[in-house]
Amino acid sequence: MTGAAILRTEGLHKRFGDLHVLRGIDLRVAEGERIAILGSSGSGKSTLLRCLNFMELPSAGRVFFHDRPVGTEETRGGATAVRYRERDLAALRRRVGMVFQSFNLFPHMTALENVMEGPLTVLRRGRGEAAAAARRQLARVGLEDRADEYPARLSGGQQQRVAIARALAMEPEVMLFDEPTSSLDPELVGEVLGVIKALAEEGRTMLLVTHELGFAYHVASRVLFLHEGRILEEGPPERLMKAPREERLRTFLARFSEFSF
């Protein structure tokens, strides 16, 4: 494998009550990798991403950040459980950025303030420094002229670009994108994908859940196909998407009739 592993999972399981969503995920994310995650609805794509920055706590298995296990193992009354302290999780999330399907901007802050928030509150940067950095991030996503608008006054595509700038402002080592264009009108998808593509070309490490197969094909360095909580098939996009081995992946790809390379 190329590069040092930034994130790694071992035997990751996630249950919601009786629902067994992730059923043993072993994943290694090396520096500079761009991993696209495909899978039908309910296959556990979002849950996997959310376990990587601990928005959901794994039911079993471990997550390693730079080869150090997150959480501490504790034995109580014979049973061993992993304890996740809020402080440790917050420290990890600072270095792992996340972009949501529904943007989730802070509605009471302008675009600029949204982007400044993390550095200001979490990294304790000075106001001037944070503002200057935030303007740079907004320029990068092409929104320097909308810096003082509130989210409600921005289009979906613009909101998602602000959300990307907000995550980037923390200078994360990995970016997690969970269907970043799924709630956008078709004509707005391109501007967001353009921003993500530029990040990929900079060599940024990212995991991207998407239904934009063409985009995954051109941008990803590796593609995972998730099915019923397991990685059913993985490989480089040309191989996996043009010559899928698994029957289920074949039927999944066939559903995207408009998909062409």
């Binding site: 928005m55 917050a90 999330r93 600072r94 009471h108 509150t121 509130y150 409600a152 959300a163 923390m170």
Partner: protein, 248 residues
């Protein structure tokens, strides 16, 4: 100014409308002092009750079962009992249990004055309602917005202070408005433990001058004015905080 005051003496002599608080220096000073006592009660109780509301709503979201239950019990106690009974409970009940301490002249005095008991009692009363009000605002903040903060590395407390509260506050401002107006009116209950606020002073004055109707009208107008001030300030805050896309 003297001419202005004298006009009211003339008004009394001509029509019998007896506004001693305007032409009589002693009554005027009493009423001015009473007015400021009421204003002081209002400001302190508003501030404390909002703090109680914010902290209580935070504790209500605690993961510890007993913390949540304690807050629930506190709300039930102060929301479901009459405020006058609460004031009596604090002043005559708790106040009697506390030890007396000698003052500068060696005379034993209660640890807390009646004004302090009124402040404690009224703040807790309004605070119990504020907890519920803030909680309803907090529940209206989308979970996804809080998650966005957590994904940036916010602790639960930081997310509460920087994201949840500012949004919840905007959502619950109308309800908070109502409760604070109620609080201003409820300060008159401090009368019952001889706190020299407006109602108490008015009663002293009308006992001396037998001008009950005049003092009543004055009191009503004074409270219309005070509540008007609160509503005006809250309106300014509301306009300042107004942000597109958040319903106020």
């Amino acid at each position: 100014m003297a001419a202005f005051f004298d006009w009211f003496r003339w008004l009394y002599e001509a029509t019998g409308i007896n506004l001693t608080i305007l032409y009589d220096a002693f009554d005027r000073q009493r009423m001015v002092a009473g007015f400021w006592t009421t204003v002081w009660l209002c400001l302190v109780c508003i501030a404390l009750s909002v703090v109680i509301g914010v902290v209580g709503a935070w504790l209500q979201g605690s993961s510890l079962k007993w913390t949540r239950r304690a807050v629930q019990g506190f709300i039930a106690l102060f929301r479901d009992t009459p405020p006058l009974v609460q004031i009596y409970f604090f002043y005559f009940g708790l106040g009697a249990l506390l030890p007396r301490v000698p003052n500068a002249y060696g005379i034993p005095e209660p640890v807390l004055t009646n004004v302090q008991w009124a402040i404690i009692s009224l703040s807790l009363f309004a605070g119990a309602f504020n907890i519920e009000i803030f909680r309803s605002g907090i529940e209206a903040v989308p979970r996804a917005t809080v998650e966005a903060a957590e994904a940036l590395g916010y602790s639960r407390l930081r997310a509460y202070v920087h994201v949840v509260l500012p949004l919840a506050f905007r959502i619950c401002l109308p309800a908070l408005n109502n409760n604070l107006v109620n609080l201003v009116k409820t300060t008159t209950l401090a009368y019952a433990i001889a706190v020299p606020e407006m109602l108490y002073v008015a009663k002293q004055i009308w006992s001396d001058a037998t001008n009950v109707p005049e003092m009543m009208v004055f009191l009503l107008l004074a409270y219309v004015f005070l509540v008007g001030c609160v509503v005006w300030v809250m309106g300014r805050i509301e306009r300042r905080l107004k942000v597109p896309g958040i319903g106020l």
